[in-house]
């Protein structure tokens, strides 16, 4: 049964990802992107990373994609068509094939079917950073081994917030040193 779910959700994810690239309309692309992100969240559930699955849905498919849709509708109402040049098409397909074949070749050395290792719900004393399903496990990791990166991530979010405010402030038109004019 997990095998069926795996094939179903990976097919859904890859199909939705292809539609993100192939769709002509940016809004449709964003909708397909939400489906692809939800598919990845389902694969996280199959890997028993329940907390990350919820995070993926709330942060990615929720907040980030809402921001994307908002900006798409703000900027690009008609979605003007620009034809893809021959050279771009050839290079894009070569890159797609090369990366896919490379991933296939690299992944071959790992077992095709496996029994998932048994995991506890909460981390045990002898393996405090072993894989466990409860959200508490992330707390243990974040406040012991990954304390410094955690603080830096908080600082990064603050910098991003201030940066966005500065970037989206309207510049006065006379101070515009625009080379194109």
């Amino acid at each position: 049964m997990p095998a069926f779910f795996f094939y179903f959700f990976s097919a859904l994810t890859i199909l939705a990802a292809l539609l993100v690239v192939l769709n002509r309309d940016a809004v449709n692309s964003a909708m397909c992107m939400i489906v692809a992100l939800a598919g990845v969240a389902a694969l996280f559930v199959l890997l028993q990373a329940y907390f990350l699955a919820v995070l993926q849905i709330v942060v990615y498919a929720g907040a980030v994609m809402v921001l994307f849709l908002f900006i798409i509708m703000l900027l690009d109402p008609k979605g003007r068509r620009v034809p893809v040049s021959e050279m771009n098409l050839v290079f894009g397909l070569i890159a797609l094939l090369a990366l896919a074949l490379g991933a296939f070749w690299l992944a071959r050395q790992y077992p095709a079917v496996a029994e998932l290792p048994a995991i506890p719900q909460l981390p045990t004393d002898d393996a405090p950073l072993g894989y466990a399903t409860a959200a508490k496990t992330f707390g243990y990791g974040l406040f012991t081994r990954y304390l410094l990166p955690f603080e830096v991530a908080g600082l990064l979010l603050l910098i991003a917030m201030v940066g966005v405010i500065v970037l989206s402030k309207r510049t006065p038109p006379d101070s515009n040193d625009d080379p194109a004019k």
Binding site: F44, Q56, L67, N88, A107, F138
Partner: protein, 101 residues
């Protein structure tokens, strides 16, 4: 028995390849940005799978940081795109070539 690490890594590789092809093929800045997010997501899938099959929390914690950085990156990137649109009235990359000439 169920699909092993191989299957998850192949799915992640395909997702990454599709995202990369999208970055090369599309001309709309917003869709290019979405394809970048697709590539990030592919890397998180590979990290979670490796973390699960090797029974360690490190990969999953890394995914936590990747999601944080991606959220910050999307906010800043979209602000830059909006600022660019205000000046140039376009989001197509082949019209944003003023540094080239």
């Amino acid at each position: 028995m169920q699909p092993g690490l191989q299957a998850y890594l192949i799915v992640a590789g395909f997702l990454f390849a599709i995202g990369f092809a999208g970055v090369l093929l599309r001309k709309n800045t917003l869709i290019i940005f979405m394809c970048l997010e697709l590539m990030l997501t592919a890397s998180t899938l590979a990290l979670v799978a490796i973390s699960r099959f090797y029974n360690s929390m490190d990969g999953a914690l890394f995914v936590f940081f990747i999601i944080t950085v991606a959220a910050a990156e999307v906010a800043v990137g979209l602000a830059i795109i909006v600022a660019l649109y205000r000046r140039r009235h376009s989001v197509q990359v082949d019209e944003l070539n003023y540094l080239k000439h």
